[in-house]
């Protein structure tokens, strides 16, 4: 048994091409006999995991955010009497486990290029390695691995897993599953026929050359997407070595990213950045299930958002009647003209409570 958190989101995108296939068309899926726009699970996960929302919100409570761990290691080594050059080399060997280091010739050669989040336990482990080196031992790669990767302080890996074919000891089973997002209604992918005019083309001198320089077609679509995500909270906690605060922060950052971050496909051409108009979160030990079947019969009509919310809630109620309640508690946020209630903050605190 575990406590599952299930998230259901409805997000509307105007003309956009968030996630495309090998021909450049937006990805689609035929669901209930009608073609829908789709954003793949992998595209959503990448957008969320690499977003600054995910990283920044997480950082506030997780250890220290720094580039300068190297300084501490270097100081420990040189204070212990090690020669500068050797100390620098060992510092870089340990430091590069925390992030890509600046160039060896840089004026701060021990700095990590990006700000990295480093938990107190990891700082202690790094300094312990430095002490070992001071004692004269050679630091083997496996030893450094063993000391630094007992569990993930990076919530990212604890949530989404890791698979290394040649180092299975580092594998992690993902605690979060993200379904492919699809529109609740049928969508026909449309073509944008565009032309590119040559600015230096002088029609007055070359009047046989009046055409444009380039013509092309870019496919796009628009729609209301249904997203589903499920978090296995016990699995997440065990991946994080039981660190409840970290798990709470991680889940809150993920939900915020899911509600506010858009995949980056064709953003410069379409400027399609949207936020969720409706969020439903459920908590329970019952077997999780997506509510996508509510949209098997495509939503039609002119008020797609209101109709989609209705369908979702009706289907949920009918499943509960048929199979018994599928969750012990839930909370809703609506940000549409017909449905204004709750807030993202409320959803996030519901999520946090689920782990305490």
């Amino acid at each position: 048994m575990t406590t599952f958190l299930q998230l259901h989101l409805l997000t509307a995108y105007p003309a956009s091409n968030l996630n495309r296939d090998d021909t450049g068309r937006p990805k689609t899926v035929v669901f209930g006999g009608k073609s829908r726009l789709r954003v793949s699970s992998q595209s959503l996960k990448r957008a969320w995991r690499t977003s600054s929302v995910f990283e920044e919100k997480l950082g506030e409570h997780v250890g220290k955010r720094t580039q300068r761990l190297g300084d501490q290691i270097l100081k420990r080594l040189t204070d212990g009497g090690m020669d500068e050059a050797k100390a620098l080399e060992i510092t870089r060997t340990i430091g590069e486990r925390f992030g890509k280091l600046k160039d060896a010739k840089d004026k701060n050669p021990t700095y990590i290029k990006q700000l990295a989040f480093i938990a107190p336990e990891e700082i202690d482990a790094a300094l312990a390695l430095a002490d070992k080196a001071l004692g004269g031992a050679e630091l083997a790669g496996e030893e450094i691995d063993a000391m630094l990767t007992k569990f993930d302080t990076a919530v990212d890996i604890a949530m989404f897993g890791r698979m290394l074919a040649d180092a299975p000891a580092f594998n992690r089973e993902a605690a979060v599953q993200v379904a492919h997002a699809m529109t609740t209604h049928g969508v026909d992918v449309e073509d944008d026929y565009y032309v590119a005019v040559d600015d230096l083309q002088d029609v007055s001198t070359h009047d046989d050359d009046v055409g444009t320089s380039f013509i092309g077609v870019q496919e796009y679509g628009a729609g209301l997407f249904y997203l589903y995500m499920c978090i296995d909270t016990n699995g997440l906690l065990s991946n994080l070595g039981g660190n409840v605060a970290l798990a709470q922060d991680g889940i809150a950052s993920l939900i915020e990213a899911a509600a506010t971050v858009s995949p980056k496909g064709k953003q410069n051409s379409y400027g399609s950045r949207a936020r969720a108009s409706y969020v439903l979160i459920e908590r329970g030990t019952q077997q999780p299930r997506t509510l996508a079947a509510a949209f098997l019969k495509p939503v039609s009509g002119t008020d797609v958002l209101t109709d989609s919310i209705d369908r979702l809630e009706k289907f949920r109620t009918s499943l509960d009647a048929a199979y018994g309640a599928n969750a012990d508690a839930s909370s809703t946020m609506g940000a549409s003209p017909d449905r204004t209630e709750g807030s993202l903050a409320q959803i996030l605190s519901f999520a946090r409570e689920s782990l305490s």
Binding site: M1, T2, D21, D22, K27, V29, F31, G32, G33, S40, Q42, R49, T50, E96, R97, F98, G99, K100, K113, Q114, A116, G141, D145, L148, T149, D152, A154, D156, I157, F160, L164, A165, D166, A167, E173, Q177, V178, A179, H180, M182, Y228, C230, D232, N234, G235, T285, Q286, Q287, P288, R289, T290, A292, A293, A294, L296, K297, F315, S318, L319, N326
Partner: protein
């Protein structure tokens, strides 16, 4: 009379993998034995490395799958970027963002077949004693330990499994009456005789399959005795037969 554990497997997107080397990841049109046992094992909380437990579950369960709707196939063009193994071993990146930063990533393109709107009904029967009773499996499926999915983690289930104990003389009679399903799911599947009637089942030594020697054909499929950490499977014979239209209830 045998007691069968019957449940419904419905997923908006599902993939029942076939032998896959490299970029083309195909899918069978019906669930595999390894996928179903994987769902049961996940519900019970058996981790990938518990080989003995997986083997015990494998020995215990006889399996029959009635494919009501195999679902239309489509291909997901999947782009994945990862740093090289060498870079990962060296930098051990701690987040996805760091992994994409630490070295020039390698891009893998793959085509993954998915089945949309796949609906099957599964019947399990006990072939051997094990540490679990059939009721224990049913209880676990109602409150699973790990997330459940149809082939890939992104292929979430669209209905509760709804495990029920069914008393029946044969496998065929256990599967000819389908559980009551929400109207949304069975939309477009009327009348009942149009529902898929093909059943794929394990060799029935200890029970009566309800299909005669003449009715079945045998198909080889590589989805038996799964090794869960190495993703290796053995071949088995799958017996396939159809429930007669007039026997459907």
């Amino acid at each position: 009379m045998t007691e069968f554990l019957v449940f419904t497997l419905y997923a908006p997107l599902a993939s029942w993998g076939d032998t896959a080397v490299g970029e083309v990841r195909g899918s069978w049109d019906r669930p595999s034995r390894s996928a179903i046992l994987g769902i049961v094992a996940a519900a019970l909380g058996i981790t990938r490395d518990e080989e003995d437990a997986h083997a015990e579950l494998d020995r215990m369960c006889g399996l029959g799958i009635r494919t009501v709707r195999s679902g239309t196939a489509f291909i997901d063009y999947h782009t994945a970027q990862d740093p090289t193994d060498v870079a990962v071993r060296r930098f051990k990146p701690r987040t996805r963002r760091a992994a994409l930063d630490c070295a020039e990533p390698l891009t893998t393109l793959s085509q993954r077949t998915l089945r949309q709107d796949a609906l099957s009904v599964v019947a399990l029967w006990p072939r051997a004693q094990s540490r679990w009773s059939m009721e224990a499996l049913a209880t676990a499926m109602r409150s699973p330990r790990f997330v459940l999915y149809a082939g890939r983690k992104a292929n979430v289930l669209g209905l509760p499994l709804g495990p029920t104990m069914v008393q029946a003389e044969t496998l065929m009679s256990a599967l000819r009456t389908l559980p009551s399903l929400p109207p949304e799911i069975v939309r477009g599947l009327e009348p009942k005789t149009e529902w898929g009637r093909e059943v794929a089942y394990d060799k029935c030594d200890s029970i009566d399959s309800g299909f005669s020697e003449l009715e079945h054909r045998i198909v080889r499929r590589r989805d038996a005795h799964p090794h869960r950490t190495r993703w290796q499977f053995a071949e088995r014979d799958v017996y396939v037969a159809s429930i007669p239209a007039d026997a459907v209830q």
